[in-house]
């Protein structure tokens, strides 16, 4: 199977690899997938007082397309409001990376990861 240039670029130079403090109230963490299925993504966002995502980090266990999907997603969500980030569709990721049909599930996982991170962040915020 040949990989697209964009997948290779993200795979070889992944953006925003790392860890944010998962206990911090301004950080949301989403971890999706399972080792037995061959992919696990951990996506973290740090949200400013203005509701804009200031920083995003990821680590991914999975194939090259899974790593590229999560790397791309961290680039996309930075600077977006939570509402905007929630609108990101897996199809946009799949299209940008030119994922073949058997790899579309990697982009689905990335969409699930950002949604999970946003939910985690929101669950931490005091209800007013």
């Amino acid at each position: 199977m040949a990989y697209s240039d964009k997948v290779i670029d993200h795979y070889e130079n992944p953006r925003n690899v790392g860890v944010l403090d998962k206990t911090a109230t301004d950080v949301g963490t989403g971890m999706v997938g399972a080792p037995a299925c061959g992919d696990v993504m951990r996506l973290q966002i740090q949200v400013g007082d203005d509701g804009v995502i200031k920083d995003a980090k990821f680590k991914t266990y999975g194939c090259g397309s899974a790593i590229a999907s999560s790397s791309l997603l961290t680039e996309w969500v930075k600077g977006k409001t939570l509402d905007e980030a929630r609108q990101i569709k897996n199809s946009a990721i799949a299209e940008e990376l030119a994922l073949p049909p058997v790899k579309v599930h990697c982009s689905v996982l990335a969409e699930d990861a950002i949604k999970a991170a946003i939910s985690d962040y929101q669950a931490k915020q005091p209800v007013d």
Partner: protein, 404 residues
């Protein structure tokens, strides 16, 4: 060094130049292009002579009589002919078949087809080291069992089954014993004059011969009967009709002849290289060999790098051609059924790489592979949330994963 480095000899091998040369002599007008079945002229006679020589060379490597060799298009066809042919021929005596879960698809899918035709098949589990337990095998044989099929060398993990012991059980219980030996000639000595085996499948392209040619050993004393699967001009004593492809057969014969002469020295050299590879990796954390290391061919190292996914690792290892049991390499998204049958957790199957070394592998190549693999496993572990969790001492089995 030439890149990429080929380390997928169990998938297929390059044709040995000595083999290619012999094959080329059987194609053009100047060469031995005739139909070996042509009885009326010298073109046919000289082709037939080459086919006979090749048959003798194949038979010699495996301790068989040349009359026991039936040419086929490869091990897939040999497996089909053996299992379907024997099952159909002997079906009045029973309709039960015994095989292993770790067999090649050429055997498993043939058995599935027989199930659709009304046969019953028992797919046996193997031990965690990949070998079948003799007692489990014996217990699976029933009064209505007609055929048992067990592979000699496994294509993924390289383990060698005790064919002699299993064959003795089959003889006692009067069951036709078929062995898929696609991966073993030239790697493990085979002496069919003594082995209690009725049918054995071979392929040329795993032993430096061409693709598209193989053979089925059909024992003559006592005679094993088969129902032909291919009908036509009655070639190969009616067992497999079709004009014999002289160049392919000559290639297979030469490949087997070379193996007869060189296998001892070759396996020693390859084992030295395999050990060099394993020794260079075994001190890494969370590295597991899949399958028994003792009962294993020299050229196979199947190894799991926990917390790193196999396909992404292969993608990183651009300089080399290897294969993985990871799901992502197959359309089904299921990890290797062979590793699963060993009872390996799925994540270790996803993290596996198969290195298979061969005739043209060099020490320099292995050293390059070692430094690449070590570096890339480390890089990908830095990217892996599972590695982080492992380092924090979290038991990954206790985590509730959000499977998708």
């Amino acid at each position: 060094m030439k890149f990429p480095i080929y380390l997928d000899y169990s998938a297929t091998t390059p044709v040995d130049p000595r083999v290619a040369e012999k094959m080329c002599d059987c194609l053009t007008l100047e060469g031995t292009f005739g139909n070996p079945a042509s009885r009326s002229h010298a073109f046919g006679w000289s082709a037939e002579k080459l086919v006979d020589e090749a048959r003798a060379n194949v038979a010699a490597l495996i301790g068989a009589d040349p009359k026991e060799i039936v040419w086929t298009s490869g091990a897939t066809e040999s497996d089909n002919l053996a299992i379907k042919g024997a099952a159909h021929f002997y079906q009045k005596q029973g309709k039960h078949i015994v095989t292993l879960k770790t067999e090649h698809k050429a055997v498993l899918d043939t058995c599935r087809q027989l199930e659709r035709e009304g046969f019953e098949v028992t797919y046996l589990d193997v031990l965690p080291n990949g070998l079948v337990d003799r007692d489990v095998f014996e217990a699976a044989i029933r009064p209505d069992t007609v055929v048992a099929s067990v592979m000699h060398v496994n294509n993924e993990i390289g383990v060698i089954q005790d064919i002699a012991a299993l064959g003795r059980i089959c003889r006692e219980r009067k069951v036709i014993f078929h062995v898929d030996a696609a991966q073993s000639p030239g790697k493990v000595p085979i002496n069919l004059a003594e082995l209690p085996v009725d049918l054995m499948s071979f392929s040329a392209h795993k032993i430096y011969g061409p693709k598209g040619i193989g053979a089925l050993y059909v024992q003559r004393k006592p005679r094993v009967r088969l129902e032909a699967q291919m009908h036509g001009g009655g070639h190969e004593r009616g067992l497999r009709s079709g004009t014999l492809p002289t160049h392919q057969i000559v290639g297979m014969g030469e490949a087997f002849r070379i193996a007869s002469e060189e296998m001892a020295a070759e396996n020693e050299r390859i084992l030295m290289l395999r050990n060099r590879l394993y020794d260079g990796l075994r001190d890494m954390e969370e590295v597991y060999v899949n399958g028994d290391l003792e009962h294993r061919i020299a050229g196979n190292l199947n190894i799991s790098f926990n917390f790193v996914e196999g396909e992404s690792l292969m993608m990183a290892l651009k300089d080399m051609a290897v294969s993985s049991g990871s799901a992502c390499t197959s359309a089904s998204l299921e990890p290797s059924y062979v590793l699963r049958a060993l009872g390996r957790p799925d994540e270790l199957a996803h993290s596996s790489l198969r290195f298979t070394l061969g005739r043209f592998t060099t020490e320099e190549e292995i050293d390059h592979v070692l430094s690449q693999v070590r570096g890339q496993v480390e890089r990908l572990r830095e990217l892996s949330p599972l590695w982080d969790m492992y380092k924090e001492g979290i038991d990954l089995n206790s985590v509730e994963w959000v499977a998708h």
